[in-house]
């Protein structure tokens, strides 16, 4: 089964008012985890996204698509990055808990749809 693990927030969302040592620790945790998941083969893909401030959102307004600067969601709830992991749900939650245990900031786990039909 594949799950997407999502991290949220622009720069500073989790790291606001944290010490440089704490932030360096967070970077290290994320790098280490990424390496582990890739080496174990559990990670299918992972990416960090540019800061939500860099996003552009296109909405339908006045009968046409209109572009505005900024993300769709609130900055603190915008997607910051993701892992796609090929594991069962229990393992996905376990992975996520490692990060949340340090960052004290929410993360989401969501199943990726299958393309096959299950009768």
């Amino acid at each position: 089964m594949k799950y997407m693990i999502m991290m949220f927030g622009g720069l500073g969302a989790a790291a606001q008012n944290r010490s440089p040592e704490w932030i360096a620790g967070m970077h290290e945790l994320l790098m280490k985890l990424d390496t582990e998941l890739k080496e174990s083969g559990e990670c299918v893909a992972s990416e960090a996204l540019a800061d939500p401030g860099q996003a552009k959102t296109v909405r339908f307004a006045g009968g046409a698509p209109v572009q505005t600067d900024g993300p769709f969601a609130e900055v603190k709830e915008s997607l910051a990055g993701f892992w796609i992991v090929d594991v069962d749900e229990e393992r996905a939650i376990q992975i996520v808990s490692q990060v949340v245990g340090y960052t004290e900031y929410p993360m989401e786990v969501r199943r990726i749809m299958d393309h096959s039909a299950q009768l």
């Binding site: 720069l11 010490s19 440089p20 932030i23 970077h27 790098m31």
Partner: protein, 428 residues
């Protein structure tokens, strides 16, 4: 050196010469390039078992020529007529002619052919990504897979890019020949730019979490050496090679063991490559003063001054600033202004550097890069304005697309915040 490595090296070196010989003989760059790829594949299959042939280039040219002829044969009547005319108007058997062709082809190919090939791959009709991919393929001898891995894009993307690039060359009517003056100087400028882009892509990897890709760096330097060998009297070619060597010399110190960025001022200089620095300096010394000085030579001279300093504090900033002043007149631009501002700050103080940065605020070209804010942040920190510096570091962190840079800038911001926010201890 393992057998496999030796085969790869021989193939890489032979590719441009074989391709050039084929194109000179038969024209049709795109078809010839396909044929050379077939020959390379055949070599990679057969040579490991049979060993590298005594005359590898002849082997490759023979196989490629056959592949070309076969492709034309399959292509139909029109091609058959073309082929017959190309091979021998008297209608001799192609195989017999092939031996003659091979000998003639290789005898004729030489420095001019590889140069012509390089100019062709860097034709102005092509987009820079196409120029890079084609140069790496046809002159660098890299496989499509190797190029794709270097640029972190799927192999199919590079394959399509090369096919389209070859079509564009054909449609643009580009000729396989050295451009004559006055086109040659600007065309050479484009070639240098392509090589510099390859180097830069490798040195400051523009995407992906790893900060440098040594395969591209090595390839850029190898091609620059080749060009320098072919055009020993061109000062800017020497300048570019020197710049690459003097910049790459610092590579080992540029990131810490965990892949974090280490700025120049904090680098462990005993990790710098002394031999590369010496070579870069020697090349530079030979070219400076030999004629009008160009931007690559100037940048190389600046890099040499950094590399000469045994410690950051010993850097000859006044001399570096003088060189930036010259560079600003020879090749003005926002990036030069940015670097010059850093030098100004070292010589005349951070406020003077900040004033120069102010002139870039209205420059559209700086609007979408994080660099202006990052430099401004450093100077504000030096000027003793941590709150403003922090704001700039965070702004820069939010606009960069490089993950290592983002983390570096985030940390610098956090260090300032923590310093300014920590409550002072009450005396006990």
């Amino acid at each position: 050196m393992t057998g496999q490595r030796r085969i790869e090296d021989v193939l890489r070196e032979s590719t441009p010469q074989v391709l050039a010989a084929l194109v000179r003989r038969y024209g049709q760059f795109d078809a010839c390039e396909d044929a050379v790829q077939e020959a390379l594949l055949a070599a990679m299959v057969q040579w490991p078992g049979e060993g590298v042939p005594e005359r590898p280039r002849s082997w490759l040219l023979t196989v490629a020529s056959r592949s070309l002829v076969d492709a034309w044969r399959i292509d139909g009547a029109r091609r058959r007529r073309e082929t017959a005319a190309a091979l021998d108007p008297a209608g001799r058997a192609p195989a017999a002619d092939l031996a003659v062709d091979v000998a003639v082809g290789l005898a004729g190919s030489g420095r001019d052919d590889t140069l012509a090939l390089l100019f062709l791959c860097c034709h102005p009709a092509l987009s820079p990504p196409s120029q890079l991919a084609l140069t790496l393929r046809a002159v660098g001898g890299l496989t499509t897979a190797q190029i794709a891995a270097a640029f972190l894009v799927p192999e199919a993307t590079i394959a399509k890019r090369i096919v389209r690039a070859k079509q564009r060359i054909r449609d643009a009517g580009a000729r396989f020949e050295l451009p004559a003056q006055p086109q040659r100087t600007p065309r050479l400028g484009v070639v240098l730019q392509v090589l510099y882009l390859i180097f830069n892509e490798g040195y400051t990897a523009s995407s992906g979490p790893v900060l440098q890709r040594t395969d591209l760096i090595a390839e850029a330097i190898r091609l620059a050496r080749l060009l320098h060998r072919l055009l020993p009297d061109e000062a800017e070619v020497a300048g570019l090679l020197a710049l690459m060597l003097l910049t790459d010399a610092r590579r080992a110190a540029r990131t810490d063991p965990d892949g974090r960025i280490v700025p120049l001022a904090d680098q462990q200089r005993d990790l710098w490559d002394v031999a590369a620095i010496a070579e870069g300096q020697a090349i530079l010394t030979r070219t400076l003063g030999a004629g009008p000085v160009g931007p690559y030579q100037l940048q190389a001279a600046i890099a040499a001054l950094h590399d000469e300093a045994p410690a950051a504090a010993a850097t000859d900033w006044p001399q570096i600033l003088a060189l930036y002043d010259v560079l600003a007149t020879v090749a003005p631009g926002p990036v030069v202004t940015l670097s010059r501002a850093v030098a100004v700050a070292h010589v005349h103080g951070p406020r003077a550097g900040l004033a120069l940065l102010g002139t870039l605020d209205a420059d559209e070209r700086m609007a979408h890069t994080h660099r202006l804010e990052a430099v401004r942040a450093h100077l504000l920190e030096q000027a003793g304005d941590p709150a403003a510096a922090r704001g700039c570091y965070l702004r820069a962190a939010k606009t960069t697309a490089s993950l290592p840079e983002q983390r570096y800038l985030e940390l610098r911001a956090a260090r300032l915040h923590h310093r300014t926010c920590l409550p002072t201890r009450k005396a006990d």
